[in-house]
Amino acid sequence: MHIPDGFLDPKIATGLMGAAVAVLGYCLARVRAAVTALVPAQALATAGRGAQSIASGYRRVLTKLGEQKVYQMGMAAALVFAAQMFNFPIGGGTSGHLIGGVFAAVLLGPFAGTIVIAVVLIIQSLFFADGGLLALGANIINMAAIGSLACYYIYYYLKKVAPEWLAIAVAAWSSVVLASLACALQIGFSGTIGFGQVIPAMLRVHAVIGITEALITLAAVHLFRSMAKSE
């Protein structure tokens, strides 16, 4: 669902880029706060680190758990990147691939998950010309902000009243369908094609792709959890 440049009106694409920067900035701040702790510089100096900043009183340092989490984010990003290369046929000469937003958010939390997906999208756009450059903001909004951050809360609230596997499956399916709806709306608002044509066409095909997203997400969450536990 990577929008190439040209499908979106530049004004809309630029606005979405601004929105993406805001969302990512917020997520980065939340992740940074979660993985670091404020430590008195005096303690750091006695530990032989950060001696130059004694005067500043406190310093932010990565906690042991935080470090583990950042490494896990790297692993999740690697898995999502690899999985996104794996297009599977869904019939009618069409293929789909994982987004991985719910996968990343369920394992790492909504803010870290959003960062993971965004990093994958940025690298795909910059190094692989997969997805536009100006359209990068739209892609981050669709697949990271909606597909990961927003759909995490579908999982979160559903988990309270339903078994976890069902919450994961519904959130994963919704992430693909909602991201495709957002994508269709952006293309429609850009005047590229009429809403009446693009919305049903996108929803129909992604309702099918969403089923595979749900199945793969269930399997991948299970795999990641059992692996992360083993070490």
Partner: protein, 85 residues
């Protein structure tokens, strides 16, 4: 944990062999509704998930994918190093 990185690389190789080459949901929709032509071609180092110095094929795709896995994972590993100070 390191196993997950190996699984990613395995997945890249499998994708190089078996991934469908059909257009994805958005591309197909664009084709069907006739606005696919509005998309502008872009080029980058690994355009089309291929490395520039090899003929297109499984090896090229696997190498490009490996590079991608390394870059995304490496970014986080480097951030961990940077944040540790």
């Amino acid at each position: 944990m390191k196993k997950l990185l190996l699984i990613s690389l395995l997945l890249v190789v499998l994708a190089a062999f078996f991934a469908s080459t059909h257009p994805d949901g958005l591309d197909k929709t664009a084709e069907k509704l006739g606005f696919a032509g509005k998309g502008t071609e872009r080029h980058s180092l690994f355009t089309g998930y291929a490395v520039p110095f090899l003929p297109e094929g499984v090896i090229s795709t696997a190498l490009a994918g490996t590079a991608g896995v390394m870059i995304v994972a490496g970014l986080f590993f480097l951030s961990a190093k940077y944040l540790r100070g």
